[in-house]
Amino acid sequence: MGAKTKETKEKQSAKELSKQLTDAYLGDARTAHEQGKYVAYTTAVSPVELFVAHDIIPVYPENHAAACLTKRMGTELSLATEQKGYTSHLCAYARSDLGYRITGKSAKGGIPDPDFLLACNAQCFTLTKWFEVLSRKYQAPLFVFDTPQWISDPGARREIVRYCVRQLRELIAALEGLTGKKYDYDRLAEVMAYSRDASFFYRKFLDMAAYKPSPISIFDALIHMAITVYLRGTPQCVDYYRTLCAEVQAKADQGIGAVENEEFRLYWENLPVWFKFRDHFNLLKSYGATILTSLYVHAWSYDFDTAKDPLVTLAENYVSVFSNCTLEERAKMALDLFQRYSLNGSLMFVNRSCKAISFAVYTLKAILAEKTGTPALIFESDMGDPRFYSETQIRTRMEAFLETLQRNKAQGA
């Protein structure tokens, strides 16, 4: 990289970098077949490092779907999917993605068709079934990376990691079969180092929510997490989060908060309601409240140990993502965030789209309320389909919750 380019890059903000990296990534993905490269669809939490090291371009139907849902295309795309016989109970990502494939409508100009699919079920069972549909449609092979629930028994955990490592070897053999190219383990070591560093800076960025006032809200985390999802394992990803951390640190040093007069620091359970993103931020802001974090955004806070066999550290990190942990462990993870970020309330979203996360919410709420003594609001809706979002009811409940926080604070004072 020339000195001039480097200088230009250093002057770029994280926001500019994000746009540049996203455009370059999508451009690469769309022209992959022209470049003689393979495209692999993969789930957001999956050992994508194995693709990067083998020059296969990973593409994330979830990310594409989230972009469509944020642009409020959820209902239109879902209706197209439902007309093909799928039910409206399915995950909105899947409905939106299948709708895109029927209508060709996209918020991002579409994504290329897959040559290979990898479904890691640490996130959910749904993704595997959705990818089965895509595998049938494109006649492309599907590899299921099966991650048994990360139960607390140490002996079981050792065996789970062994099983996962064995599967990663099977995956590598499948990729060699796809490309006809021998796998380069030295290249994998390089990629792992980039992933380790990017994850370090991403986690550091998220942890800046511990500052008072917090320079970031969860809405910042949701915007900035995209790069680590699809560019893990690249030097650009490391640079991006290093730049972002420097920017956010500067804000923290100046005492600039994500909201003015920060009074309430909240925890969010589940994925966001993508199409209500800004509305929620503004409503909370008007009460001096902000959501700082969730287990969801921490799903990419990996801690790769590059001193280990790369397949072992990949297995350990991907199998232990919060959505694959027991409820007890998940509660411990959330409690850790409560403590580290000084949180004083929770908004707990029961998301019709996401059974993997939502079916634990009622029990999780009971545990968090018992252990932290902080109030929590549960509401049901859908992350991407406005037909299941009851505007007035949810707004009223959020307002009542925020007023309760205010009243509690006044009484406490």
Partner: protein
């Protein structure tokens, strides 16, 4: 005249949890969930395994713990466990096959902290060698865990005894199924599937005794029955058939179920466990050989090719698919299955049901209309 043993099996099927109360006086009773849990291990530990198959009682307790878009089997199982009927159970070994079952296991563990609890982490892929190895490894872990719980090591001899008993049970049920196919007038669909259902609850030895009587009677009677014509051969597809009155509806239109893909029938009764070698490997071999058993398969077309093969092999006239509402696996598979069957010109009826379904007349009309149209096409 039908034998008393058959009547007894039907009685138990109508009050499945009732028989557990008596058994609990002799043994600890351990529940498991559908399809993947190797019950033989629980039996060999000197415990009584049974399959938690929900309840048709109204949902009262579980609504506060699971949203209404959880499948009714899960909600119903949760209701059963945390409601008063939970008093029949001493513990659980829960196989996790989907997001819902994973959460169910966590919720039960928290709600019933004094009950024995063990996960069985069945592989959720079946195409590669790692799946078989993992299943065997989980069997070894479960064997050790059950041994610790009972305070008695499970010997290989214990396991061979259990394997033989379960193999005998499966063989009797397979034989009865074959006779039913040959002589459809001999027993109703409801009677046959009730006889299978009770295997999930009863003491296996007692079940085998009753089955032997029924099979003996069926062997004697099958050649005497000359009224087998006019039945429409049907494949019953799905996971479970609930409510069981769906079987009655098929009976009413002279449909005879000659094959199925149900967890509560073929997926349970087909294939035995080898009684030699390493017991864990033997259980893994059986798991890998079971037909239609995985909701996930790298060979993604098997969701319909397996069904099509069964349909053709059995010379069936139609497929009835029992779709449990909110079952994600079925929700994703069904549009492609239906499209494929349409392309093949196969009469296919999807019935969407729930455990607490009470308004069945509409469904009955659909079954009647469907069968009439099939019969009009010339099926016999």
């Amino acid at each position: 005249m039908k034998p008393k043993a058959l009547t007894r099996l039907v009685e138990i099927a109508n009050d499945p949890y009732g028989c557990l109360a008596g058994l609990r006086k002799q043994k600890q009773v351990i529940g498991s969930t559908l399809a993947d849990c190797p019950e033989e291990l629980i039996h060999a530990a000197g415990l009584h395994p049974f399959l938690i198959l929900g309840t048709n009682e109204p949902i009262r307790h579980s609504a506060a713990l699971l949203p209404d878009n959880a499948c009714s089997l899960a909600r119903s199982n949760l209701e059963l466990v945390i409601g008063c009927q939970g008093n029949f159970f001493d513990g659980f070994v829960l196989a996790q096959v989907c997001d819902t079952t994973q959460h169910l296991a966590d919720i039960w563990k928290r709600k019933l902290p004094h009950h024995y609890f063990e996960n069985f982490l069945a592989p959720r892929q079946v195409a590669r060698p790692s799946a078989r190895a993992w299943y065997a490894e989980e069997c070894r872990r479960l064997r050790a865990a059950l041994g610790r719980y009972t305070g008695r090591e499970i010997t290989d001899e214990d396991l061979w005894r259990s394997f033989r008993l379960y193999n005998e049970n499966r063989a009797l049920l397979r034989r009865l199924y074959a006779i039913k196919e040959e002589a459809p007038a001999l027993m109703t669909n409801r009677e046959f599937f009730d006889a299978v259902k009770v295997t999930f609850f009863m003491d296996k030895e007692e079940h085998n005794c009753l089955l032997k009587e029924v099979v003996q009677w069926a062997e004697q009677e099958k050649d005497r029955r000359t009224d087998g014509d006019g039945y429409v051969k049907v494949i019953m597809a799905g996971i479970v058939v609930e409510p069981p009155s769906l079987y009655d509806m098929v009976d009413e239109v002279r449909g005879t179920i000659v094959g199925d893909t149900l967890c509560t029938a073929s997926r349970y009764i087909y294939h035995d466990v080898e009684v030699e070698g390493d017991p864990a490997e033997a259980l893994a071999d059986r798991h890998m050989r079971k037909p239609f058993f995985s909701p996930i398969n790298a060979d993604v077309e098997r969701v319909y090719t397996d069904l099509l093969t069964l349909y053709r092999r059995k010379g069936a006239a139609a497929i009835v698919y029992c779709h449990i509402k909110y079952c994600e696996s079925q929700d994703y598979d069904l549009p492609d299955i239906k499209a494929h069957m349409r392309e093949e010109g196969i009469p296919f009826l999807e019935l969407e049901t729930e455990y607490q379904s009470t308004h069945l007349s509409q469904m009955q009309t659909r079954v009647q209309a469907f069968c009439e149209s099939v019969i009009k096409k010339g099926a016999t």
